[in-house]
Symmetry: C2
Subunit: 742 residues, 2 copies
């Protein structure tokens, strides 16, 4: 089958127009222009051709006969003359492009605007160019009149017709360019001042036609073009680090739109009387009125709340609905939003049409039914849900956790970007070995597949594993912290943060530990411990406030399911003053408590020991009844990179822990050692090979600065704000010893 | 040394007040109240006590003598009576709490507001409570007058005094609560309508006093309290998935502030005449006027531009400055912002004080000097910078990449959150084995340390590696894609996305591949291929627009360093229409190109083959001169989970690739197979064990829905917008075969 034949028959559903388009793309057309043809005419034709995906070869200028006037397009069927006719033809070749609209009505309006373009603008422009000063005032008056109309129309529209640029937009912009550049009938300043909507539209379309219009098109209104950017500048003090200010959305026309309304919007807007299409999963189906009515409780995960959909026996899809298998089935429904007579909801949807997208095939032999559906409507333990982690987000608990987790992640980026911190992706695979090496997972390609012999593992003559043969030429592991890496960026870019996964190969089965979890680690240059504490408490409060402001429904659910008074606890955390306490004082307070008979499990308290969780919680829950920051810990219980407090004796480091009620430590941080020799000494003391940290030491060798940062375990934060008590329930697919399913 | 003595001498710098505070925390005070004491009085005292960190034990009510009136606080020094006196005392015990302000002047204004509280409000309230109807009108007039004053003052202030809540705020809020609840002098509606600033302040402070005020405090103004939340709701259609709407920042008072101005703000605001403190790293130092002047080019990484700091011989730090070692040294400078006489910059800083924070110790024996500093001021190749990845962000190229990377990451979250997509953290460590298993890294704890014998690796009797002894009880690897996992959430919560690291153990040394890279993978329920294409092009344009809007300086740099016309290319990408092309048509176009003599390296084109990069770029660079989407690929060259196009023959799947000029494929996606039996059949065809994907099949078994998604390699996106040609230069610490340093 030849190329053309294939194009004729198969392309784009086989329609004739489509076939024409495909052929013209492959083949192309030729066009000839009159010597006298204005460049804007060539521009408009060639822009439309490109946007239609049609190749048009310019054969240059030629002597045309009087009837041909400006140009001739050669087609198989014969020549086409007149630039607007050519444009209409080219646009029509590509229905998919939308250059001629997408309905008959739109096509008509495209034509109408093309007429407008000719009669109201182009004529004046041509007259002005051809006759100069003589006609200028009249031409200017015409153009201004046209622009007034245009500006009014575009106040409420992105484009002249429909939601995409059509041939009319393209042609009009090309002609308008000549108003500014060739005919000089209007200055940019006036355009800016008097026709802001037309200006916005002009810039949008001009970008699409940039190749044809040449630099002049946008430059013509350049003092204007830069205006929106200026206006969009972030306000002083909250300027982002490169993200946030300005509105990228205004530079292009969006195409994506849902074919349904999310319940989050529907339920919050309560637009009674409107028609809506919704889709989601069935929480329950209840029959009433002797089986002639179905009440479907539908949820789409956008919020906790469900929508009651009332399906009556007369409507399309009713019997399907009855056989959908119940809880878990997916349904699309269209209908009218009405006030609900029920007392559990304000509105309900009176369906005019329902479609069961997928039944719950939980019956015997995959038949519809909820019998074997692991999430049938009843109470499930966290353990059961965890064992079905792939279905867990369909439960109320699971979905609420995901929404809160999202809100906290977004708040994190929002907070740091707002302060001008740069997000740095530190590496996951690392050969660095500075902290907790014993707890690292090994990453390797040396091991054979399951069921293959172990002999293939390469060895050195001494019988050691030969890591020089491994993927990275050395033994590598999964990172336990991005801190050392992010420091490299902080001491070059001033303020940075990481937000990524970290790993611990510790065999721990507690409800507070995971093998894979996410950490947030900001790092600031030119900062001290005091800055660090302030940043930590602001960040924590921001996150808590974000959830209070944005996830009230989910918090209400957690309050009922997990913890009475949750929101009060969070509110008081968000507004609490955070007292700062010296480590030494904390020890004194604990000693007094022990003397007064407080029953700690571990009473072995003395200056120099690390605090246990029970001690931290005594301080937060009993003494301060709120969050507290402990600062200046003994050197020996903290990491080698923490700054030695000068003159401290016994020696302490500028470290801080932020403790919160119920949880204990949520944030740990420090000022970093910025003195080269002290750092090297400290590394030696903890047994690190100086060579292995030479790159880290370089940061002190070359332009060292005081710097500080902290780390926060993201899952701990989620536990704090939800009251969920097992860390395995706040991450989508928890990894812990023996568990890596899904 | 006894506890008290320690407290006296060491706590909080050893001041007397501090010692008092520490002791009272440990010991506490006792207070007694008159029978008749109004509850709001107890509330205000106990709120101040808690905020001061002072334990006050309520001994209950007692018969007090006339002179003692309302209450008596027992201290070591003797009793304190009158609630305001008690408040002042308690606040004064804890200077750190700021309850009494932090300067003498603030202390005076706290006093002034406490007076206001007594005279203008409390008197009226007490009168109203005690005398009821008789005095009500007068009391109401008083209170309203006071609220007017309060509202005016708080229009421009967060709190009454300074930047923190003081005892005056606390007391006044406690008294006002009684205005609403006990005396009922003012209804919430009126408060809301007439005193919006006072309302905002009331809610802020009331949260801090919540335990003492009880539920009533915020409830009293509850119809009001919900108002700000309503107002802050995201506009229709752009409602976030739980993040974004509302302003969490308004719920608390921030404490963090930089002690320097970032150059990004200083340079853009050009505030000539102001005094500023800046800090950063030296790009160059130049001496002039026979060594009596230093011109320091300083950069802090917040933007590409540097600030010229002029240091004259008279000022503090001048000689240090001369010996700082040059490029790379870190410097803090304070001075006046003046217009620069130089032609390279608009402003400069005339220093009055400079401090060298850290010299560049790149001379022999660590002496100051740039001799051995790897980033001394000159041109460096990308290879040299890569070898010094820990210093690379100090180079112009390195820093510009980080800023653009940040802007793109933030734009990603902003885009998806704005559309109501939820961010899901899919697991990195996985036992799932559905795609490209051969390319997975193994994650293990079975391997011995370097320099230890390989014999320790556990084996089965057959001599296989015994993975049941591994950390997760089976062989696990690093994920190659989060898609299958995120699908579980999309078919429960409707629209989700991942943004996280993925891994390939492929031995590839090209400039386009990394072993560790970041991917963005959105997934939508109730969506088809058409939705997928639209989302993909909107997302790409949003990212490109974000960088155009927010990183102009950095793009200008890349334009000069890497690619002429970069911004024009991006602008036309942001505004381009994206034509959609059937795979079959793409093949036809390529066949014609080959027939017409186009010189592809791989001319082996036929229906059914996968397109190479050169083919893709022919379509984008030559045929369409812009982005293009190819849809409906042959089944056999795509993944098993892609939806089979019903009735297609030869069989195709609903897959799409978005191609862009210069790069080729940037986004790949598909509608997913939602029919259970077809999915199982397809899995079998590609040799997958049905058991291993049973959880994935469950998503089709229980309430299956049409759904679609795509993946974008984040580093490819950065290459696209920066013109950087080696993928190793757009990620902070690149990992590829043989390379995992830092």
């Amino acid at each position: 089958m030849g190329v053309e034949a294939i194009c004729e028959t198969r392309v784009l559903g086989g329609s004739k127009e489509a076939a024409k388009e495909a052929r013209s793309r492959v083949r192309g057309f030729r066009i000839r222009w009159a010597e006298s043809a204005a460049s804007f005419k060539k521009a408009k034709v060639s822009a439309v051709a490109r946007l239609a995906g049609v190749k048009v070869e310019d054969e240059g200028s030629a002597l045309l006969t009087g009837s041909q006037r400006t140009c001739v397009l050669e087609t198989k069927e014969g020549p086409i003359t007149q630039s607007y006719a050519v444009i209409r033809y080219l646009a029509g070749l590509s229905p998919q492009s939308g250059l001629y609209g997408s309905t008959a009505y739109e096509e008509a309006t495209v034509d109408q605007w093309l007429e407008f373009c000719v009669l109201e603008v182009e004529t004046a422009v041509v007259a002005a160019i051809e006759h100069g000063k003589v006609v200028e005032p009249a031409a200017r008056a015409d153009v201004e009149k046209a622009l007034k109309v245009l500006n009014r129309v575009l106040e409420k529209r992105t484009f002249l017709v429909g939601e995409r640029a059509t041939a009319a937009d393209v042609a009009l912009v090309c002609v308008l360019k000549s108003v500014f550049c060739d005919a000089k009938l209007l200055g940019p300043a006036l355009f800016k001042q008097q026709y802001p909507h037309a200006l916005r539209w002009y810039l949008t379309v001009a970008h699409a036609c940039a190749p044809e219009l040449g630099k002049g098109a946008v430059d013509a209104v350049k003092p204007i073009a830069s205006l929106p950017r200026e206006e969009a500048k972030a306000p002083k003090g909250t300027a982002g680090g490169g993200g946030g200010a300005g509105d990228p959305g205004s530079l292009f026309s969006r195409t994506f739109a849902r074919s349904r309304v999310r319940l989050k919007e529907l339920l919050s807007e309560k637009s009674i009387g409107s028609t809506a299409t919704v889709a989601g999963w069935v929480r329950s189906v209840r029959e009433a009125e002797k089986g002639t009515l179905c009440f479907v409780e539908l949820n789409d995960g956008s919020c906790l709340g469900s929508l009651q959909v009332v399906v009556a026996s007369g409507i399309e899809g009713f019997s399907e609905m009855k056989g959908c298998g119940g809880t878990g089935a997916s349904v699309k429904a269209k209908g009218e939003v009405v006030e609900s007579p029920g007392k559990n909801q304000a509105i309900e949807l009176r369906a005019t049409e329902v479609t069961v997208l997928g039944p719950t095939r939980g019956g015997p032999d995959r038949a519809p039914g909820a019998q074997y559906y692991p999430l049938a409507k009843k109470f499930h333990t966290p353990e059961h849900l965890r064992a079905h982690a792939h279905l867990r987000p369909r439960s109320r608990l699971g979905s609420a956790v995901v929404r809160v987790r999202h809100a906290l992640a977004f708040a994190t980026h929002e907070f740091f970007n707002g302060l001008g911190f740069l997000y740095v992706h530190t590496p996951l695979i690392t050969a660095a070995d500075c902290e907790g090496a014993g707890e690292q997972f090994t990453v390797t390609t040396l091991l054979p597949e399951e069921g293959e012999r172990a002999d293939t593992i390469p060895r050195t003559p001494e019988g050691f594993v030969d890591y020089s043969k491994d993927f990275f030429g050395r033994k590598c592991g999964l990172t336990v912290s991005g801190q050392l890496n992010v420091e490299t960026h902080a001491v070059a870019l001033s303020d940075c943060y990481t937000f990524g996964p970290t790993f611990r190969a510790e065999v721990s089965h507690t409800a507070r530990h995971l093998s894979e979890f996410w950490m947030i680690e900001p790092e600031m240059a030119f900062a001290t411990l005091d800055d660090d504490v302030k940043l930590a408490q602001d960040y924590l409060k921001y996150c808590v406030s974000a959830v209070l402001t944005r996830c009230d429904d989910d918090l209400a659910f957690f309050e009922q399911a997990n913890e009475k008074g949750l929101r009060d606890r969070l509110r008081s955390l968000a507004s609490a003053r955070v007292p700062r306490l010296e480590y030494s004082d904390a020890i004194e307070i604990l000693l007094v408590a022990i003397r007064d008979g407080h029953d700690f499990e571990n009473k072995d308290i003395a200056w120099g020991v690390d605090l246990n969780s029970e001690h931290e919680r005594y301080l937060t829950d009993v003494v301060y009844k709120g969050p507290v920051v402990i600062v200046n810990y003994p050197k020996n219980i903290k990491a080698f990179y923490m700054k030695l407090n000068p003159g401290s004796n016994p020696p302490t480091v500028a470290a801080m822990d932020l403790l919160v009620p119920k949880i204990g430590e949520i944030i740990g941080g420090s000022q970093r050692e910025d003195d080269l020799e002290t750092l090297e000494q400290r590394a030696k003391e903890v047994g690190l090979d100086p060579k292995s940290i030479s790159w880290y030491a370089d940061l002190r060798r070359y332009g060292s600065v005081p710097h500080a940062g902290f780390g926060l375990g993201f899952e701990r934060l989620i536990m704090l704000v939800t009251g969920v008590e097992n860390i395995r329930d706040v991450i989508p697919f928890p990894r812990y010893p023996g568990h890596a399913a899904f």
